[in-house]
């Protein structure tokens, strides 16, 4: 720790503080800090690089700009807003961190994040992995064709692209088309069963936004505008975000933040799963787990619950999961819902290069999951999925990590063998579709 005396005299300047006070609404409430420490007490990044949210605020308040310049901690904070959730003064610490990332020259920001953002900006597809429009369309059509061939009962399955006038515009995280295309299929099946009128688009299909993590407003705005405009151009009513927390948040918040004019409803996937179930369109059956009693827990993605759609969505999530696995086989983590701990996958953590810190950050999450004794952690978010999966591997924690679509499809008896990449051996052959069994 530095012990140099901080001298406050005529020349005392607090440039970063001034920036925040002038730029952020209400100065993010920065001035109101009571130094109570509630933020630091509940932050998984507390202690990393000898920093915590309270210290960070204090350094801004006291004008320690030199030390804040290019401070690595801003990448170790996942901007999950668990601090703000209880802050008695409602200080938007994530906004301060966002500005802290801006104290890094753009080109010096973590390469993983920077590269992904720039990639998305270079492509009208918006894909952070650089998959262009036509390639995406090719993959979708190719996968669909394969389903038609190998799963005859799904010969009517559709994966519309650029369908004018569709009700739902569905975004797609790049990970599936690029590295595990069969993971797209369970969601298509679900949408088919409920009779949803939906479409992908080629332009702006990429359901991710690393520019938000990069804390570069213009870039964030460009990516969000591109995808929203694409949905509007297709005449869609609902911008339906795939199971991805940060991407949902980037569009939902980006629209507000940048004042993008649209009549689109920006909705998370889980809300519609729950709605379709309540409407009787998605009749999942938990009987497959009656005897097995496989235990499940869920991760509440910060971006979708605490930061945007709040506890109502957390209830939807539980409603869906319990319907799939049986009430008794669901175990909640504590704390949960809007007070859930971030897993350490948010804020660009997975791409920022601070891997040791990310694992340390995730220790709480790993312990939380272990405490539930659940066999599976359901993550309706790509970054949660990736991080929680990695935590299990790293700590040899033994639990599996799955998307919600996998579970829904499993409970509907429509999850094909090749769509079970993330399931453990215990569920590899459970509730297989009838056709698969006949073939054998």
């Amino acid at each position: 720790m530095m012990t140099d005396a901080l001298t406050i005299d005529k020349d005392w300047k607090r440039g970063f503080r001034e920036t925040i006070l002038s730029k952020l609404p209400e100065g993010a409430n920065l001035n109101y800090c009571l130094t109570c420490g509630a933020c630091a007490s509940g932050c998984p990044a507390s202690g990393l690089h000898d920093m915590d949210p309270r210290k960070y605020i204090r350094m801004i308040a006291l004008g320690l700009d030199d030390e804040l310049y290019k401070h690595p901690w801003v990448w170790l904070c996942s901007m999950c807003k668990r601090c703000t959730y209880v802050c008695p003064m409602n200080i938007d610490i994530s906004a301060l961190v966002y500005e802290g990332r801006n104290l890094w020259p753009r080109e010096e920001r973590p390469r993983g994040i920077l590269g992904s953002c720039d990639m998305a900006l270079r492509n009208s597809s918006g894909s952070a992995m650089g998959t262009p429009e036509d390639e995406f369309q090719f993959v979708v059509e190719d996968v669909l064709e394969e389903v038609h061939e190998t799963q005859p009962e799904w010969k009517d399955l559709k994966a519309p692209v650029n369908k004018q006038g569709a009700h739902f515009f569905l975004s797609q995280n790049s990970r599936e088309p690029v590295t595990e295309p069969e993971e797209m299929v369970p969601l298509w099946k679900i949408l088919h069963i409920v009779g949803a009128d939906w479409t992908y688009s080629t332009r702006g299909w990429g359901g991710e936004n690393y520019c938000m993590f990069l804390a570069h407003d213009d870039s964030w705005k460009a990516v969000t505008t591109n995808t929203l405009q694409s949905a509007m151009d297709l005449g869609c009513k609902v911008y339906l975000n795939t199971e991805c927390g940060h991407s949902t948040f980037s569009v939902w918040m980006g629209q507000k933040r940048f004042g993008i004019k649209t009549n689109l409803e920006i909705a998370p996937m889980v809300k519609y799963y729950a709605q379709w179930m309540r409407e009787g369109k998605l009749n999942v059956n938990p009987d497959w787990n009656k005897e097995l009693k496989v235990k499940f827990t869920v991760q509440d993605p910060c971006n979708q619950i605490r930061k945007s759609f709040s506890d109502a969505l957390a209830e939807d999530l539980r409603f869906v999961v319990k319907a799939c696995v049986g009430e008794d086989n669901f175990v909640d983590m504590v704390p949960n819902r809007s007070n859930n701990y971030c897993c350490g996958g948010g804020g660009g953590y997975l791409q920022c290069g601070y891997n040791d810190e990310r694992i340390q950050y995730g220790t709480i999450k790993k312990d939380q999951i272990i405490a539930t004794k659940a066999d599976y952690c359901i993550t309706p978010c790509h970054n949660c999925h990736d991080q929680i999966h990695k935590l299990s591997d790293h700590f040899e924690a033994g639990y599996h990590t799955i998307h919600l679509w996998t579970l829904i499809a499993l409970s509907l008896g429509i999850l094909a063998e090749n769509e079970r990449a993330y399931l453990g051996d215990d569920l590899m052959e459970v509730n297989l579709p009838a056709s698969t069994i006949e073939e054998e």
Partner: protein
């Protein structure tokens, strides 16, 4: 030309503030209606286990007041009722009342409880915070007033479904009336007092507290019930989920206070720090091995005796104080139960995880929505926090003329402050109606005393359990049965609470039925309860001196709590001695004194003037004696109140009013030279430079104030840029242009306060410095301002100033008392060095002004204390008769206090206390006469040898030599002056003096019996 006013006052609410206001008014000649929404009065104080800082049993100190209200001829309780509208204006209000049906005839109900016993319907018990069940027909608590059952119509099977009827079948008094109906009626009153109290913040649904469906996270008011002997576990402290005794308990402060995010309560609730300390101490007393941790932001122990209590909690009780707001609580996993708390450890700066068996949420105060709605409807303005809006110079008047406010509705506050305001509100409400004083009140008729002389003593002994205060240690039935074996004892009984109204009525009945002529109550202390039981005797027609109280609580169960067998034996011994004494007791008569209707107020500051104005408004003549050449005291230097009102304007108005008041005489440059006399007729000699004058007065109010201490550190007196708070105020008051040019100002708090040499907190300095910082920001928004503090104590709604100051960029840095700031100077600048409490690194501030928030010190006027025989505490402040319930009275009759001489306080609180002191004085003055005690010394002249020892030894000048006649030269006692202390009796070498009620034969009988 004056319109006729109604000599009745309506009080909305039934808590301690309402009770105090009602008693003040009813005892000053006004008829009082008390409107209470529940079936009985008592409010939150009745739910508390103990009260801080003295840890007095709450019910024990409150019960005599409850009984007094319940019995008072001129207080009418309107229970299960609320106000629908208020029409008319000051002097003549028409109040529309809605009263819910009770379904029990109060005139018939004998509170035997047969109904509740047979009632099959169990419902949540609100009095016990729903921790247990009560029946659908119920009394809220055993000492409730009125002690009459009520049917909870929503839950009664008969009233909802037409079936059951058990209570009616089992009621021996025929009191059940299912046909009872809700009523609407209108009351006509002259003034109205809103003392509606508060509700506690409800943490339900707030995820970070994990309070829902988790029995081991409780609110502080629930915990209060868990600690209480009358609570769900009879005071046995357990973890509710599994009834295991807890090893570790945590308190989380500021739950629902100082928080504008998870709730909308920006105010500090003022009382939670102290009640958490109190609860932790009580919990430790239950189980000394218990580990108690209080997680807090700022420790706010700003009241009289509070800082001592805080120090004791740390040093004597080993309670841990962790300065951190914890993020969340949640149940831990695994075999071992417990609530997990993650927090940043203050010392190590590292995140820590700790498990606790019970977590107590120190919930704050809020104003209930229905009170806000009623205020809105009746034209009473509220503050943004929902409290009643008042002016600092008129702290209990609402924005509607004729309607007053006191207690927590006026702002978050503790019991003493509520009681003070109650007195203040009573004074204001009564003053508006002096023309109709005694027009609507009924006269008390005491039964004719039954002569007992020559009759064989028939002693009744009543032994009290005092809940578990006594009963948990002493075998009460054994003491009772033992008493029955004693000579002359004709009747014995034991009671759960002897002071409850039903027991009192029962004792009166038994005295008559059993023809008892001597009574013993073995219970608590006669200091608080003597008058209550004496009144009970009087109601039965028995002379009140035929009574003895045996203190088996303070002298028994409390001091010998680990020795139940021995303390039971001691109780028997004490009872035996008391019986031996009481059988020899004779009825005593009391002398009647007329009360001089003039008052003296000592001190002409804000408090003294407010007291004088208040007394004058009640129609009494007042003399103000002020030692300075002008009125106003400290207020002559002060700039603005915390609410932003100009003190100069307020003071000028007040001085003008006092000077123009024909009933107020102002004596400036005046010292008190000598005081003689006693309540009702004091003769005080006032001395000015050129003359002395003796005035007669019936009462005296001490308002001598206090001063800002002169600091001895931080370069004060050596560098003129270092000034005190008062000096800065003067500069702001004078519009000093130099302030605008300041670049950097630093404030240091607790200069001379909260240190071993002066351990108390000066209460007002945090608010004052924060307000001053804001004034400086107003003068120059670019000024850099730092406030170096130990705990910011902007209690109540003053917290909003603290928030505003932070918002405007004032930087607050906390220092440790063991590592105080260092101040140096050069010609150009002052330098203040301090370690930042968060970054733990030194900061050196170059400043051009250093303001020292210097302690408030009392004058320690020993002479004055001697004159009026009033005590001072170690700090030099005057000591009130009772910390909680008589905060403006002295134990000495006829003498009252207010303002800074009692304890540091801001202007609004000083004025409220001045008015409360005036209210107490009015209560006395309005009676015109009082009775002196019957226990006084008398002289048997035949034995007197005229030695004069008694004359010289008496502190009250009661003995004197007879001047003329046959007995000239012999000593006689003036019964009015005698306090019954017995000093003369003990000193009389010829046995001429004896003390009535403590006759030698009685004392010898006690010794023989011992």
């Amino acid at each position: 030309m004056t319109t006729k006013v109604t000599g009745a006052v309506l009080i909305v609410g039934g808590g301690i503030a309402s009770i105090q206001a009602a008693l003040d008014l009813a005892n000053s000649g006004y008829y009082v209606y008390m409107i209470e929404k529940t079936p009985s009065i008592g409010g939150v104080m009745s739910q508390l286990d103990k009260t801080f800082p003295t840890n007095d049993c709450s019910m024990c100190i409150m019960s005599p007041k409850l009984v007094e209200v319940g019995r008072h001829l001129n207080i009418e309780l309107v229970t299960l009722a609320n106000i629908e509208d208020i029409r008319g204006e000051e002097g003549n209000f028409e109040v529309d009342v809605f009263q819910k049906a009770r379904y029990v005839d109060m005139t018939k109900c004998i509170a035997c409880g047969a109904c509740a016993e047979k009632c099959p319907k169990k419902v949540d018990d609100e009095y016990n915070m729903n921790l247990v069940k009560r029946k659908a027909i119920y009394v809220p608590y055993p000492q409730a007033v009125p002690l009459k059952y009520a049917i909870d119509a929503k839950n009664c099977i008969k009233l909802t479904k037409g079936k059951c009827g058990n209570c009616e079948k089992n009621c021996p008094a025929g009191a059940i009336n299912y046909e009872d109906t809700d009523k609407r009626f209108t009351l006509t009153v002259g003034s109205i007092i809103f003392s509606t109290g508060f509700k506690t913040y409800d943490p339900s649904g707030k995820l970070p507290y994990f309070y829902d469906n988790n029995p081991d996270v409780v609110t502080s008011i629930e915990f209060e019930r868990l600690l209480s002997a009358s609570g769900p576990n009879k005071g046995h402290l357990i973890r509710i989920s599994d009834h295991v005794e807890p090893k570790k308990i945590a308190w989380l402060q500021c739950v629902g206070s100082r928080d504008t995010n998870t709730c909308k309560n920006s105010h500090c609730s003022s009382v939670c720090c102290m009640y958490a300390i109190k609860q932790a101490i009580i919990a430790k007393e239950h189980e000394p091995s218990l580990e108690c941790t209080i997680f807090y932001m700022d420790m706010r122990t700003h009241g009289k005796g509070f800082e001592n209590c805080y120090n004791e909690a740390r040093e004597k009780y080993g309670i841990k104080f962790s300065r951190i707001r914890v993020h969340s609580v949640y149940p831990g996993s695994g075999e071992e139960k417990g609530q997990v708390i993650h927090y940043m450890d203050e010392d190590s700066g590292k995140p820590v995880e700790e498990r606790f068996d019970i977590v107590v949420l120190s919930v704050g105060m809020e104003i209930p929505d229905e009170v806000k709605a009623l205020s809105d409807k009746t034209g009473i303005d509220l503050t943004p926090n929902g409290f009643c809006k008042t002016d600092s110079f008129d702290p209990v008047s609402t924005t509607r003329k004729g309607i007053y406010v006191c207690g927590a509705f006026q702002g978050p506050k503790d019991i003493p402050q509520s009681v003070i305001e109650a007195g203040s509100a009573a004074m204001k409400a009564g003053a508006a109606l002096t023309g109709s004083r005694n027009t609507l009140t009924k006269k008390i008729v005491t039964p004719v005393e039954i002569p007992v002389s020559g009759q064989r003593p028939r002693v009744g002994v009543f032994v009290c359990h005092c809940g578990i205060n006594i009963g948990s240690v002493i075998n009460v039935p054994a003491v009772r049965d033992y008493a029955k074996t004693l000579p002359f004892v004709e009747y014995v009984a034991d009671n759960l609470y002897s002071c409850s109204q039903d027991t009192q009525d029962n004792i009166t009945r038994l005295i008559k039925e059993q023809n008892l002529n001597r009574i013993i109550v073995a219970a608590c202390t006669p200091r608080t309860h003597d008058p209550l039981f004496q009144e009970t005797l009087m109601n039965a027609g028995v002379n009140k001196y035929l009574f003895e109280m045996v203190n088996i609580r303070n002298h028994g169960s409390w001091v010998h709590k680990d020795f139940p067998v021995e303390s039971t034996e001691k109780a028997k011994d004490l009872v035996r001695m008391a019986v031996a004494k009481v059988v020899q007791a004779e009825p005593l008569q009391e002398a009647e004194l007329s009360i001089d209707q003039n008052a003296l107020v000592i001190g002409g500051g804000i408090s003294g003037m407010a007291a004088a104005k208040a007394l004058s408004s009640q129609g009494y003549h007042v003399t103000i004696a002020e030692r300075e050449a002008r009125l106003g005291g400290n207020a002559n230097s002060l700039y603005k109140t915390a609410k932003g009102e100009s003190i100069k304007d307020g003071l000028e108005k007040m001085v003008a009013e006092v000077k123009n008041d024909t009933r107020i005489d102002v004596c400036l440059n005046t010292e008190i030279d000598h005081v003689e006399g006693f309540v009702g007729s004091f003769d005080t000699t006032l001395k000015t430079t050129d003359k002395t004058e003796t005035i007669r007065h019936g009462v005296a109010i001490i308002a001598t104030g206090a001063a800002e201490s002169k600091p001895t550190e931080y370069l004060y007196g050596r560098d003129k840029r270092v000034i005190t708070g008062l000096e800065l105020d003067k500069r702001m008051r004078e519009g000093d242009a130099g302030l605008k040019t300041l670049k950097t100002a630093v404030f240091i708090q607790c200069v001379g306060s909260r240190e071993p040499a002066r351990p108390y907190c000066s209460r007002i300095c945090c608010t004052h410095s924060v307000a001053s910082a804001l004034h400086l920001k107003e003068i120059n928004p670019d000024m850099k301002i730092f406030i170096l503090y130990r705990d910011i104590r902007t209690y109540g709604e003053k917290e909003n100033l603290y928030q505003e100051a932070r918002g405007k960029g004032v930087i607050f840095i906390r220092y440790d008392v063991n590592n105080k700031p260092k101040v140096t100077s050069s010609e150009d600048s002052l330098f203040v060095e301090v370690d930042d409490h968060i970054l733990k690194r030194p900061i050196k501030i170059s400043a051009d002004l250093l303001n020292l928030a210097s302690a408030i010190v009392p004058y320690r006027d020993e002479r004055l204390a001697q004159f009026f025989k009033v005590p001072m505490n170690d700090d030099g402040f005057f000591v009130e008769a009772h910390v909680k319930l008589a905060p403006s009275d002295f134990a000495t009759d006829g003498v009252f206090m207010c303002g800074l001489s009692h304890y540091p306080k801001p202007i609004d609180e000083s004025i409220a206390q001045a008015q409360a002191a005036a209210s107490s004085a009015t209560r006395l003055l309005s009676q015109k006469t009082i009775n002196t005690s019957g226990t006084i010394a008398v002289s048997n002249i035949a034995y007197c040898t005229s030695c004069g020892v008694c004359v010289s030894i008496c502190p009250y000048n009661a003995p004197s030599f007879i001047v003329e006649g046959r007995n000239a030269g012999k000593a006689e006692i003036n019964p009015v002056l005698c306090k019954g202390c017995g000093a003369c009796v003990a000193s009389c070498r010829s046995g001429a003096l004896h003390l009535k009620g403590f006759e030698e034969s009685q004392i010898m009988a006690m010794i023989d019996a011992a």
